[in-house]
C-alpha cells in the first residue's frame, strides 16, 4: 500500500489513523502513533494505530503526563531511540503497562518542532531482534522524518488559527524552481539553467514540498498553482 498525501484523504480524523497504518505497512513497523501539541489550543492531539484497550488505559491513567517517549524527545532535535530511555522510572512505569497490553518496547520517537512553538511526535515500534531493528532504523529513518513533518503540518494546519499562520512562504528561488518543474524541466536541467548544483535544486524542492504540505513534487506544483504562488507553466 502506497503512502498517500494526507490532504487527499477525506477530511475526517480517521484519515490520520489511516495514514499511520500506511506508514506501518510501508516501513515495516508494528505500530505508529502521532502526538501533537499546539500552543494556540493548549492541548495534545493524538492519533494511534494501537488497540482501543491500550488507548483507554493510556487516557485513564493520564500516561501522557509522564510518557518519556514524548517528554524526552521534546528535548532532542534528533529521533530518540527508546533504548536511550530505559533507565528512567517513568519509562519503567509506562513500558511495564504497555508490555501488559502486548506492546513492544522497541521503537523510536521523532520530534518535529514547528515555527510557532508547536511540537509533534511520530513514534513507531517494531518487535524484532536488536540487530534487525538497527538495520531497519538506518534504512527508513530519513523517510520517517519526512512522514513526521507531513502528519504534524497537516494536523496543525487543520486548526483554523494555526493554519492561517502556516501559509506557504516560498522563497524566490523555490518558486522559480517549481515554475521550471511546472514547465516540464528535469532537476538536472533546472540546475544547469540556474547554475546551481543539482543537490541544491533537490534541497529547494524538498523545502517547497514541506511548505506546501505535499509529499510529492507534482502535488506541490499543483498546490502552488492553486494558491497563485506560480503560474500554470
Amino acid at each position: 500500500m502506497e503512502i498517500i498525501d494526507l490532504s487527499t484523504l477525506p477530511g475526517t480524523e480517521a484519515r490520520y489513523t489511516e495514514f499511520l497504518k500506511r506508514v506501518c505497512d510501508k516501513f515495516e513497523m508494528d505500530h505508529a502513533a502521532y502526538a501533537g501539541m499546539n500552543p494556540s489550543e493548549g492541548k495534545v492531539a493524538g492519533h494511534v494505530t494501537y488497540n482501543d484497550d491500550w488507548k483507554e488505559h493510556y487516557q485513564k491513567h493520564d500516561l501522557v503526563m509522564i510518557d518519556p517517549t514524548l517528554h524526552m524527545a521534546k528535548r532532542s532535535i534528533a529521533p530518540v531511540d527508546w533504548s536511550r530511555l530505559e533507565r528512567s522510572q517513568n519509562f519503567q512505569r509506562v513500558f511495564r503497562d504497555a508490555h501488559d497490553f502486548g506492546l513492544p518496547s522497541q521503537g523510536v520517537t521523532i520530534p518535529v518542532r514547528g515555527p510557532y512553538g508547536d511540537i509533534g511526535f511520530l513514534s513507531v515500534t517494531r518487535d524484532c531482534p536488536k540487530e534487525e531493528w538497527r538495520k531497519l532504523y538506518t534504512h527508513v529513518i530519513s523517510d520517517l522524518q519526512s512522514m513526521a513533518v507531513h502528519i504534524h503540518d497537516n494536523v496543525i494546519t487543520s486548526d483554523e488559527f494555526a493554519g492561517a499562520l502556516y501559509h506557504p512562504n516560498l522563497s524566490t528561488r523555490e518558486a522559480e524552481i517549481l515554475q521550471w518543474v511546472a514547465a516540464g524541466k528535469s532537476q538536472q536541467d533546472i540546475g544547469d539553467i540556474l547554475s546551481i548544483s543539482h543537490r541544491t535544486v533537490e534541497v529547494h524542492l524538498r523545502s517547497s514540498r514541506e511548505k506546501l504540505c505535499a509529499l510529492t513534487t507534482p502535488q506541490a506544483v499543483g498546490r502552488a498553482i492553486a494558491v497563485g504562488l506560480i503560474g500554470t507553466g
Binding site: A78, R113, G114, V149, E210
Partner: protein, 284 residues
C-alpha cells in the same frame, strides 16, 4: 574526540558546556567581533535555551577545542531570525531532513598548525565527521551552516568543500558571514577521514568524555591554591601536620587521613594538599 550533548544528557555536561560557551565568547565576541551577548565570560543566546544539540570536540588533554550547535530547520532557528540578512529577506529553507548548524568554532589559540592531533585541521575534521555521522544517524541529509570566510576556507582545504551556498555574504563584525550547504553522505565522511587520517570512531561514551574532561583538573600544575583564597581550618591543619611529619610513616599517615576526608575538599584542594608542603610553602 567528540561528545554529543543534547537536552537529554546536558545535566551531565554543564561544566563542558560552560567551557564551550567560554570558547564561543573568545571566538565570536573577541576574534570575529560579532554582535553577541557575553555574560560572565560566556557567549549564550536565546537559541541555546531551545534544547539544541551540541557536537563538542576535546583535545587529548580534555580541553574543549571545537564546537558546533544544531537546530531543526522546521522550527525556530537562526537563519529564520537573526541571520535573515544573509537570505536577503527571503524565507529560509524548511526541511525535515535539513538541520542548521551555527556557532561553528575551533580554538585557534590552543590548537597548533600542521595536521597532527591537537592541530586546527585535525580538530575541524574530527568535528565535521562527528556532526555528519550524528546527522546521518538521525536521517538528516543536508546541513546548512552559517560560517565566516576563514572557516569556509578551512573546510575547502580539508576535503570538505560545501556543495553550494545560499543567499549572500554579509558583513558581520570584523569579518563576514555566509550560509553554506553540506551534504551528509558517507562519501564526504570518507574524504574527511582520509584527509585527517582518522580511522576509528570519533565518539566518546558519556563516561569517557567526563573522565577526559575532568582529568585535566588533576594535572594542571598551577592548580595548587590558584585563587590564593585563605586556607580553611582543615587545610591549615593538614599543612601543619605535613610540615611536622618527620618520618615517611608519619607522612603516609597524614596522606591517608586526607584521603579519608576526601569529601571535605574539592578535587583541586585535595590535589594541592597531597602536594604539600611544596604547594603551600608560602601560604602556611
Amino acid at each position: 574526540m567528540i561528545i554529543v550533548v543534547d537536552g537529554l544528557n546536558r545535566h551531565l555536561f554543564s561544566e563542558v558546556l560552560d567551557e564551550m560557551f567560554e570558547l564561543r565568547a573568545r571566538v565570536f565576541g573577541e576574534r570575529l567581533g560579532w554582535d553577541v551577548t557575553i555574560e560572565d565570560g560566556k557567549e549564550i543566546d536565546e537559541f541555546d535555551h531551545l534544547d539544541p544539540t551540541y557536537v563538542i570536540g576535546f583535545d587529548d588533554r580534555g580541553n574543549v577545542v571545537a564546537a558546533v550547535r544544531a537546530l531543526q530547520t522546521t522550527g525556530p532557528h537562526m537563519l529564520a531570525d537573526v541571520f535573515s540578512a544573509i537570505l536577503d529577506g527571503e524565507p529560509p529553507i524548511r526541511s525535515a531532513t535539513m538541520w542548521e548548524s551555527t556557532r561553528f568554532c575551533v580554538d585557534t589559540q590552543r590548537l597548533t598548525r600542521g595536521k597532527g592531533e591537537n592541530s586546527l585541521s585535525y580538530a575541524t575534521c574530527e568535528l565535521m565527521i562527528g556532526s555528519l555521522e550524528y546527522a546521518i544517524n538521525a536521517g538528516v541529509q543536508d546541513i546548512i551552516t552559517v560560517i565566516d570566510p576563514v572557516m569556509d576556507r578551512v573546510l575547502r582545504r580539508s576535503n570538505c568543500a560545501p556543495y553550494d551556498y545560499v543567499g549572500k555574504t554579509v558583513p558581520m563584525g570584523k569579518v563576514s558571514a555566509l550560509a553554506a550547504l553540506v551534504d551528509c553522505t558517507e562519501e564526504r565522511i570518507a574524504s574527511l577521514r582520509e584527509f585527517a587520517d582518522i580511522q576509528d570512531s570519533v565518539f566518546l561514551e558519556e563516561e569517557e568524555a567526563l573522565a577526559l574532561f575532568n582529568s585535566k583538573k588533576l594535572v594542571e600544575p598551577s592548580v595548587a591554591n590558584r585563587d590564593h583564597k585563605p586556607l580553611t581550618q582543615l587545610e591549615k591543619y593538614f599543612v601543619e601536620q605535613m610540615n611536622a611529619a618527620k618520618t615517611e610513616n608519619e607522612r603516609q599517615d597524614v596522606l591517608r587521613l586526607i584521603e579519608t576526608l576526601s569529601d571535605k575538599f574539592t578535587p583541586e584542594q585535595k590535589t594541592a594538599l597531597l602536594g604539600t608542603p611544596r604547594a603551600f610553602a608560602h601560604e602556611a
